[in-house]
């Protein structure tokens, strides 16, 4: 079965959406009637199944979304298993920033700058191999010192720690007024040809 235009539109909308898409949204965006949308949904579902695809249309609450066939869950879970978790949380990023720019530094020093406890953020960063223990500060209690790792450089695409941009360089960049969004396209030739009547040095 080859999907028609309405079904293609609906499939695209559901695929791209962040959350399940309800009937009201589908009829509003496509301009089609509820009956037609329902039939298109059936066609999408049928076509995915017929082709033996791993993706399937599934009703969730009052909406629809595309999910992988649960039978393939095991393979998909392998994707996430031995991989580092993707994104750094805000807390980790802040903690990492402080360590990167004041390394080697102690937990107390990081916490002083962040103003909150950093235990778990430091632990996460250690687990993800973004920071390492780099000795002890010769202070009462001899607190541990943290520094960044090779992995950290890799993650941020730098060859060398002293390639890390200085704070003032970034500040300067960020102080540049942001550019206006889009300018009208260029005259590219004839449109803007001004008159020559002011030629005073010809």
């Amino acid at each position: 079965m080859i999907l028609d235009k309405l079904a293609r539109e609906i499939e695209a909308i559901i695929f791209a959406a962040d959350t399940p898409v309800d009937m009201e949204t589908l009829t509003r965006i496509t301009g089609a009637l509820e009956d037609s949308v329902q039939q298109a949904l059936d066609r999408i579902s049928g076509s995915l199944e017929e082709g033996g695809h791993a993706m399937m249309l599934r009703r969730v609450g009052s909406g629809w979304r595309i999910v992988t066939d649960p039978a393939l869950g095991e393979v998909v879970s392998l994707l996430f298993e031995d991989r580092r978790p993707g994104k750094l949380s805000r807390a980790s990023l802040e903690t990492l920033a402080v360590v990167a720019y004041s390394q080697p530094c102690t937990r107390a020093e990081v916490e002083e700058i962040r103003g909150v406890g950093c235990d778990s953020a430091l632990r996460t960063l250690l687990e993800r191999n973004m920071i390492r223990i780099a000795g002890r500060r010769e202070l009462p209690g001899r607190p541990l010192l943290y520094a960044t790792t090779q992995e950290f450089l890799l993650y941020f695409g730098l060859d060398d720690l002293d390639h890390l941009p200085r704070l003032d360089e970034i500040t300067e960049l960020l102080q540049t007024p942001p550019e206006e969004l889009q300018r009208p396209d260029h005259p590219e030739g004839e449109k803007a040809s001004p008159k020559e009547d002011a030629a005073e040095d010809g």
């Binding site: 791209a16 962040r114 993650y155 704070l167 002011a198």
Partner: protein, 248 residues
Amino acid sequence: MSADTCRVTLELFEGPLDLLLYLIRRDELDIWDVPVAHVARQYLQYIRAARELNLDVASEYLVMAATLTSIKSRSLLPRRGEGDEDEDPRALLLRQLVLYRAFREVSGELREIENVWRDSFPGPGERGRWSRDTAPMDPGQASILDLVGALEELQADRLPPPPARFERPRMSLAECIVDIETSLKDRGPMGFRRLVGGNAGPERIIYYFLALLELAVRGRVVIRQTSPLGELTVAPSMAAAPKGAAPE
């Protein structure tokens, strides 16, 4: 050309090279063999018109004006001997034009690609990359801006403001004109070098030279040069009109 046309036009250009390419194209000239005198004349006309409106012409445009003038005059001046190892400014300009033209065209192609692929959407899993508060995950693809941004926010209310950043000096031509006129009025005729000041950088020299040309065009100064490549002597014109009068 009318003032408004010029204003609109100059704003539409992405810089002096863009303006030059426009002139070359408009007059159907050969980019590989640009008649510099002609192009320089057209170019200066644009700049002058913009300045008559008291528009602040970006310094890049003025530097290019000086370059064009220098290439033009170089062909008229006696050669300083064959051992002259200076890079040929004409070849440099040609390279700039050809390169910039190539990039301008490629940007056009990228625009077309953008128009197509901006309309292709990933699944929700990938959409995270639209979010601002997390760094992307691929090694080498994480953003240092995110890292530093986090630090900046932390420091915002704890530290004194960051040190004042270095501003690239942007002189205004109007200031140079006033300065020259004042100097001449106070101290009488003098050489260009003294007018500019002993340790002036290239930008200042260019600005003062442009200002001087402007004053000459307006009939407010007289410039003398007794020998080729000799020092320019600048004197206030006897017929100098009251300050601020139109060039006519």
